[in-house]
């Protein structure tokens, strides 16, 4: 399930290296490199920005059309979550 407020997994480490955001997680097996757009999404994914705010920031920064940005950001966040790089959404159980 896609989080409304994406938040980077606590066990990740990351650094901007020569224009590329390098992300690694302690529990995962991957080192991934993110381009400029991915880096913006990653930096904003701190749990305090909604996914719609992130879409708006991508639109404003890279001058892309809203629907396309939404599709890309949603897809990217889904990928990050599948890789364990975004905290999963907590299951809400009723009492």
């Amino acid at each position: 399930m896609r989080p409304d407020f994406p938040c980077r997994a606590a066990d990740t480490a990351f650094r901007m290296v020569d224009g590329e955001m390098i992300v690694v997680s302690a529990s995962g097996s991957n080192i991934i490199g993110l381009n400029e757009t991915g880096a913006l999404v990653w930096e904003m994914a701190d749990g305090s920005h909604s996914i719609e705010e992130i879409v708006a920031a991508v639109c404003a920064t890279f001058e892309v059309e809203g629907e396309m940005a939404r599709r890309d950001v949603f897809g990217f966040v889904d990928e990050l979550e599948a890789e364990g790089l975004i905290e999963p959404v907590a299951e809400v159980t009723s009492a």
Binding site: A10, R15, A26, S29, I31, G33
Partner: protein, 333 residues
């Protein structure tokens, strides 16, 4: 990219060409509570960097592009500000690795290490038995204390590595050490390379494995094919840097070739100093003595060991040569 080690290599390859210090090893102290007879450390005589100076160093490393940060010693737990340093390192989003003998790690510290999501903790173990390990460390009780902490590290879900330098003194226990690592939930890492001390004292290498034994454990494999002359020999000073407890910037922990001093200049100044540029000029083409060697394709040259043993980073060290020779004779994969 299923093997994380391959990922690190691929990633480092780009950083190496750009001279970005992606891997930094910070020696927080040279003080140690053990007295291992093969230790390479030549204690830094100057005062250690203060907490504030270490914090400033971490900030500068983050700005320079360092992602993987190894905190090592000496014994890092002898610094009372260790956890403050680790906390800052995680705030700055480093992938933090700790090298320790673990004898002083208590439950509260281990809990905090787990909470901070330290990437891994490597613990030095030199035998499968109390007798062998404590004989190497020359401190009775060290085996029990280290292995007790390792169990706790594993219980808290921390990736734990058992690092063992294989020597004549513990070679007979290597299967037992491997079994011990399994029992402790640790990843066993063996290294047959015993090096001279960083002041050139050759005493440690009297403990190294003999040539025949070495050939029994290394794989018979070429480590590279023909290498263009302009290829860098290793990562030292290119994507790897080491900082001494008092702030001397070296290309590698085993290469005492100061690039600068953080007490009188910034990290960036040291990393881009004339000496740094000079050492980056050393490529395979400069290793003239190695060009015609029949073991060349089995050899990973080490400028630091060359420098320590011969006084010249481009002249081959006997320790490196014997590993290459052993690899040519070694066991079939």
């Amino acid at each position: 990219m299923s093997d994380p080690a391959n990922g690190v290599r691929a990633f480092s390859g780009g950083a190496r060409q750009l001279n970005i210090p992606v891997h930094a090893l910070v020696e927080l102290t040279h003080r140690c509570n053990l007295r291992c007879f093969h230790c390479y450390v030549d204690p830094d005589e100057r005062p250690e960097l203060s907490t504030e100076e270490v914090i400033s160093l971490l900030d500068q490393l983050a700005d320079a592009g360092t992602l993987f940060l190894t905190l090592t010693g000496g014994e890092i737990t002898l610094r009372r500000d260790l956890m403050k340093i680790v906390e800052h390192a995680r705030d700055r989003r480093f992938a933090v690795r700790l090298f320790t003998n673990a004898t002083r790690l208590d439950e509260a510290t281990i809990d905090r290490i787990a909470q901070l999501r330290v990437f891994d903790v490597s613990v030095s173990i030199y035998g499968a038995s109390r007798q062998t390990h404590d004989r190497v460390t020359r401190v009775p009780g060290s085996f029990v204390r280290s292995t007790t902490a390792m169990r706790l590290l594993h219980e808290r879900g921390i990736v734990t590595r058992l690092k063992c330098v294989l020597m004549a003194d513990n070679y007979g226990e290597r299967q037992g050490i491997s079994d011990l690592a399994d029992e402790l939930g640790a990843i066993a890492m063996f290294d047959p390379q015993v090096t001279v001390r960083n002041d050139g004292d050759a005493t440690p290498i009297t403990h190294r494995l003999d040539d025949d034994t070495l050939a029994e454990i290394v794989l018979n494999e070429r480590v590279h094919g023909d290498v263009p002359a302009e290829t860098p020999t290793c990562a030292a000073g290119r994507d790897t840097v080491s900082i001494s407890p008092s702030g001397i910037v070296n290309p590698c922990v085993q290469m005492p070739f100061p690039l600068g001093d953080l007490r009188s200049e910034t990290f960036e100044q040291a990393w881009n100093s004339p000496r740094a540029r000079k050492m980056r000029e050393i490529t395979f083409g400069r290793l003239s003595a190695c060009a015609a060697c029949e073991d060349a394709s089995y050899c990973n040259p080490c400028l630091g060991m060359n420098l320590l043993e011969t006084g010249d980073a481009t002249r081959p060290s006997s320790s490196v040569c014997r590993v290459a020779r052993a690899r040519r004779r070694g066991v079939m994969a």
